[in-house]
Symmetry: C2
Subunit: 197 residues, 2 copies
Amino acid sequence: MNVAFQLLVVLSGPSGVGKDAVLAGLKRLRRPFHYAVTTTTRSRRQGEEDGVDYHFVSQERFQEMMERGELLEWAEVYGNWYGVPRQDVKQALERGLDVMVKVDVQGAATIKGIVPQALLIFVAPPSTEELQARLRQRESETTTDLKRRTETADEEMKQLPLFDYVVVNDMVDQAVAKIDAIITAEKCRANPRVVEL
Amino acid sequence: MNVAFQLLVVLSGPSGVGKDAVLAGLKRLRRPFHYAVTTTTRSRRQGEEDGVDYHFVSQERFQEMMERGELLEWAEVYGNWYGVPRQDVKQALERGLDVMVKVDVQGAATIKGIVPQALLIFVAPPSTEELQARLRQRESETTTDLKRRTETADEEMKQLPLFDYVVVNDMVDQAVAKIDAIITAEKCRANPRVVEL
């Protein structure tokens, strides 16, 4: 009954919803977990650190990782590639740590297909208007980007039933507290999710 | 997605595990819920208040409630009868409140049969030895009672798979915090439990 088990927590949601802010909030809590840093071919945004926010790699290196089966899942999002390194996730789970990954909605769906016991959390915007406002605040976004991301977000909302939980990111601290509660609750499940990779 | 819904939380577990202490702790939290007081034919223990801890009724009145369909579930436990008043639960849910009931393991199984969307939490002892020690502290227990309750507890542990969550009541504050987290998490489910009575 008290068998220890590790969770694979998949944090997802539309672009601009605030996944990074939520993740930063989770890292500030005392709960230990391993964040599996995503590998990407996209260019670094201001304030982002290689190996912390993403592993920034070339197209060639990414292609190689795909071919060698080094990625748990990968996806092309707005012309850039993103992937979750498999070994990193596997080793952390084996060390007895919960693992958190941050992926787009397409990536979350892929992971659920590969690892049905993964715990999928959809971070949702309070409203479409609010999501647009947040995207506009990103200096890196062009008007075309904005339109495209808004359209994709509408599509992504349709993927909700795939997810285990939905957390509306209105106040980030509240969203973080809810995700923390979800992890606590999942540790109490009578039929625990046992992840196998 | 943000449709409000109410939970029917069923708090259960072996006799002597500390369900009352856990319930008292939950009542002290800021989260509003309605506690549906159980009706019983058993005699009042010291410190118990009629209408707060239980509705204490006669065998005749209990029989009448059963016959009139006034009880959501009822069970005989160690020669006494216990039942959850249906109208009380129904009305609180209709008023938009989460409802909590405290029942024995047999009662929890019955409720799950009637209300599959009920949220079942099994409060478990840290160990069988600890459970016996707690029962011994109850001055109301005779040696025969103690033996009988310990045997029943072993049987009850086998019902675990029926439950949604298991919370070990080692430190009561931690158990309360876990149950609070479970309720928070359940409110975030992508496929919410919609209770119909």
